[in-house]
Amino acid sequence: MDFDQRLHNVTIIGAAGKMGSGISLLLAAEMAKAKNRPENKGSSYRLNLIDIKDEAMDGLWNYMQAQLTKIGEKSTVFLRDMYKNRENLVENFDIIPQFVSDALSVIRMGTDLNMAKNSKVIFEAVLENKDLKVDLLKKLDSLCPDDTLYLTNTSSIPINVLNDEANLGGRIIGFHFYNPPVVQRLAELISCDKTTSELKEFSNELAKRLRKVIVPANDIAGFIGNGHFLRDGLYAISEAKRLAGDFTLAGGIYVMDKVSRDLLVRPMGIFQLIDYVGVDVYQCISETVDSYIEGEDLKDDLLQKMVDKKVLGGQMADGSQKDGFLKYEKGRPAGVYDLDKSEYKMFDPDGWSGEVDRKLGEYPDGFYPWRKLLIDLKKNDKLSGFFNNLKSTDTLGAKLALAYLKNSKEIGQKLVDSKVANSAEDVNAVLLNGFYHLYGPINNYI
C-alpha cells in the first residue's frame, strides 16, 4: 500500500494532549493539502481524533481552528499555488479560510476507540505509561486491519517492549516529535529490530512531507533527546545540591539555571526547561529510563519531593508557563522554589540573588545572550571567542559553566559510545534542532 493510500484514513489516540493535539494539527494540514491535489480529486480523507477526555474536545476544535489559520498564514505562498484553479479564491483573505475549512472537514472527534477501525495509520500519544500504551495497542490491533501501522510518540519506553507486549509483528516505530510538534523541526525516528521496512519508508516519507528533520536513534530507553536532557538535568540537580552548603538549595537551583542559560548560551536555563516539560513528566521519564538502563543511577529524590508537593510546572491552556522549580512573571523566571518552606523565594537583585550574582562573578568578555546570537551571522566565531575567554576566567560562574559544558559533552559522547546515536553529528543535530542550542554538545570549544 503506498503512502497516499494510507493517508486516507488516520487516527490519533490521545489527541487532546499536548503532543496529540500538535500531531493532529500537522496531519489535518497535510491531509487538506493531499485532498487538493488534482490526482486525489473526489476521494475522501478522514482524520479520527480520539481521547478519553470528552470535555477537552471543544478546546481541541478551537485550538485546531486557530492553529490551522496560523499555518495557513505562514504557507500562503504555497496555498495560492494549490488553489490557483479556483477562480473565486483571489485574496489571501479568501485562501486562508478555505484551507482551514478544508482541513477541519477531514476531522472526526470522539471518545470511542471504534472510530479507528478503518485506519491504516495510527499515532499513539497517550500518557507515558507502558501498560496503558500496550493495552491500547492491543485493542486497536484487534479492531483495525492487519496491516495497520502504529507510530508511537513515547519518550522513553523501548519500542521493542511495546512491539513484543502488544504483539505487533514489527508494525510499530517510534516517531518522536518534540513539543510543540508544529513548531519543532526535529523528530527522532526509532526503529526496533523488527520494525518493517514499509513502516520505516512510510515514516521517512511522512517526515519529509511534514518538513521535519529526522534523526535516527536506536532503541535504547530515552533515545537521544531525552537521553541527553535527562542526564544534563540530573547533573544540574546534583550540582545544585552540592552548592546548597554555600547558597541553600534554592540558591543552588538559581545558580545552575542561570549558569546553564547565560554562560552556556542556551535558550533557557536547565530548571526552566524542566519546568517547561513538566517536573512530573521529567520525573516519569527519569523513572522509566532508569528502569531500562543498568549500571547508571538516573533518578533523584528531589524530583519526587517536588511532585509530592504538587509543584509541577508544565503549561497553562494558553501556553503560558506554570510555576515549577522556578516562579514565572511575564514568562520570565522571577523566583525559585524553597522546598523547606514550601514557598517561592523571589529574586532580589538588591538582596540575596544580587549577592549570589556577585559570587558568580562578572561574565567573561564576548558574552552575548542566546537570542542575540541566534540571528548573528558570525555566531560561531563569537561563541568560540566567548568560550575561550570563559576558559581563562577565574570566577565561580566560569568554573561551573566549564564543568557543565564538559559534562554535557561527556553525555553526548556516551550516547554515541553506547550506540544510542549513530554519530556525534546525530547527537548534535538533536540538540540543535530539538532544543535550539546554538552548538552541539560534542564540540571543540572545550
Partner: protein
C-alpha cells in the same frame, strides 16, 4: 500643469512616530491608538506651531485604505475632531494608493494657487497594523489592478511586483552588483533612522546592516528576488503641514524664514490596468520629475535635499535614475559609493526614508513634505543635513502603486 501665478508656501510640518515592529513600544497583541488619534496628533502638532487655528480655511487629508484597514470611510469628516474651529469648514479626502500623500499636497497647492484658500491644513494618515502582514498585503494590493492582477499575483502582492523589478535588474546588471547596492541602501536607511527619534528603525541595534541587506532572497517563504530588509515595514502614523499664500503666512503669524516655497511640481498618472513596459525603468516617476524640473527651470544639479519613495530598496535605486541623479544602470554603484549618504554628494532620505522611518502609506507623501520643511528651515535636529548654498532646493517624489500615480515637488526656503 502651468506654473501658478501666486506663490505657494509650506510650513509648520509635523510627524507622529511611525509605529510598528522595530519600535520598542510596539506590541502586536496590545491595544494601540487608532486612526482618529493619529489624525488628531498630527493636526494638533501643526496647530501648536501657528496662532489661531480659526485661520485655517480648509483641510485636505490623504489616505489610501482606511476603508479596509480600519473599516472607516468619510475621512474628511474626521478633520473637525482635531479642533472645534475646523467644524463646518470645507475638507476633502484624496486617494492615490501610496501616493495619496502626494495628491494631498497637490490638492492643497491647487487651492492656494487658485486663491480659493489662504491656509490649507494638509494631513496624511494610515493605520495598518490592524491586520497581520499577510492580509495587509491584500489590502495594499488594491494599489494594483484587482481584476487583472491580484489572482495571479504573489501572496505578498507588492513585494512580488518589486521583486519582478529587482529580478529584471539582476538579469540586466548582475545579481551581485544590484544586491550590494540594495544592501547599502538598507544600511543607509537604518543609519539615518537611528538619528530620528520618531523613526520606526530608531531602536534598531543590528551590528552588521550590510550583511543583513545581503541576505539571499528565499522564494519559499517570501518573494523571489527580495529579502525582508529590502522592504519598508507595516506602519501606523500621520503627518501634517500647512500650505499658505503670502497673506496666509501673515495671517497665521509665521515668518517667511520658517516656511518653504513650492517652486515646481509635476504629476503623472499611468494606466493601472497595465504593467510597466520595462521593469528596469520607472517612467511615470521620470515624467512627473521632468514636469517639476520644467516648471522650475531646475535640474538634479540644483537639488541638495532628496526625498525618494523607497517602499523597496530597488524602488529607491530606480528612482535615483528616474530623477536624473544617475544614468540608466548606474544607481546601484552610486549608492555603493556612498554618494547618497547623509551629508555626501546628495543627502537622500536623511530622516530614514520609507525603509528606515516607516511607511504609513497614504501619509508618506505628507511626511516627506514635512521633512523638507524641517530640512530647508534648519529645524531637522539630529537629522539636519548641511545645506549647500549652491544647491538650495529639495526634491520629493511620492509614488502610488507600481510607478502609477506619481507626484514630484520641488521646494526652497522662502525669502
Amino acid at each position: 500643469m502651468k506654473r501658478p501665478k501666486k506663490k505657494v508656501y509650506a510650513t509648520c510640518g509635523f510627524n507622529t512616530i511611525s509605529l510598528g515592529t522595530g519600535r520598542r513600544e510596539f506590541h502586536p497583541k496590545k491595544p494601540r491608538p487608532g486612526l482618529e488619534y493619529y489624525i488628531q496628533e498630527a493636526g494638533k502638532g501643526v496647530i501648536a506651531q501657528m496662532n489661531d487655528p480659526e485661520n485655517i480655511d480648509e483641510g485636505v487629508i490623504g489616505n489610501f485604505m482606511a476603508a479596509r484597514f480600519n473599516k472607516q470611510g468619510n475621512l474628511a469628516a474626521l478633520i473637525p475632531t482635531i479642533h472645534p474651529s475646523l467644524e463646518f469648514k470645507p475638507h476633502t479626502r484624496v486617494e492615490g494608493a501610496c501616493g495619496s500623500g502626494g495628491l494631498a499636497l497637490l490638492t492643497s497647492v491647487k487651492s492656494i494657487a487658485s486663491e480659493l484658500s489662504d491656509v490649507v491644513l494638509t494631513i496624511g494618515v494610515e493605520v495598518q497594523n490592524t491586520y497581520k502582514a499577510i492580509y495587509g498585503a491584500d489590502i495594499l494590493g488594491g494599489a494594483g489592478h484587482y481584476l487583472s492582477q491580484r489572482k495571479n499575483g504573489h501572496a505578498y502582492f507588492f513585494p512580488g511586483q518589486f521583486s519582478d523589478r529587482a529580478g529584471a535588474c539582476y538579469d540586466k546588471f548582475g545579481y551581485e552588483h544590484m544586491r550590494k547596492g540594495m544592501a547599502c541602501w538598507y544600511k543607509q536607511a537604518v543609519e539615518n533612522a537611528r538619528r530620528n527619534p520618531k523613526a520606526q528603525e530608531y531602536h534598531n541595534t543590528a551590528e552588521d546592516l550590510f550583511a543583513l541587506g545581503m541576505t539571499p532572497p528565499n522564494p519559499k517563504v517570501f518573494v523571489d528576488h527580495l529579502n525582508v530588509y529590502d522592504c519598508s515595514k507595516v506602519s501606523d502614523g500621520a503627518s501634517a503641514l500647512l500650505f499658505c499664500s503670502e497673506e496666509g503666512l501673515k495671517k497665521i503669524g509665521i515668518d517667511k524664514k520658517d516656511a518653504i516655497e513650492v517652486v515646481g511640481f509635476g504629476i503623472a498618472v499611468a494606466d493601472v490596468t497595465k504593467l510597466p513596459e520595462d521593469l528596469t525603468i520607472m517612467d511615470t516617476t521620470k515624467k512627473a520629475v521632468e514636469k517639476a524640473y520644467n516648471m522650475s527651470g531646475l535640474g538634479p544639479q540644483d537639488i541638495g535635499v532628496l526625498e525618494l519613495h523607497d517602499c523597496f530598496t530597488i524602488g529607491g535605486i530606480l528612482a535615483l535614475e528616474a530623477t536624473g541623479f544617475c544614468k540608466y544602470g548606474e544607481a546601484s554603484g552610486f549608492v555603493q559609493d556612498g554618494k547618497t549618504n547623509f551629508n555626501s554628494e546628495i543627502s537622500t532620505n536623511s530622516t530614514g526614508g520609507l525603509i528606515g522611518f516607516g511607511h504609513y502609506t497614504g501619509g508618506t507623501g505628507v511626511r516627506q513634505a514635512a521633512d523638507c520643511v524641517h530640512q530647508l528651515t534648519e529645524k531637522a535636529g539630529n537629522c539636519q543635513v548641511k545645506l549647500n548654498p549652491d544647491k538650495p532646493y529639495a526634491l520629493m517624489i511620492s509614488m502610488g502603486g507600481n510607478d502609477r500615480t506619481v507626484t514630484a515637488m520641488i521646494f526652497r526656503r522662502a525669502e
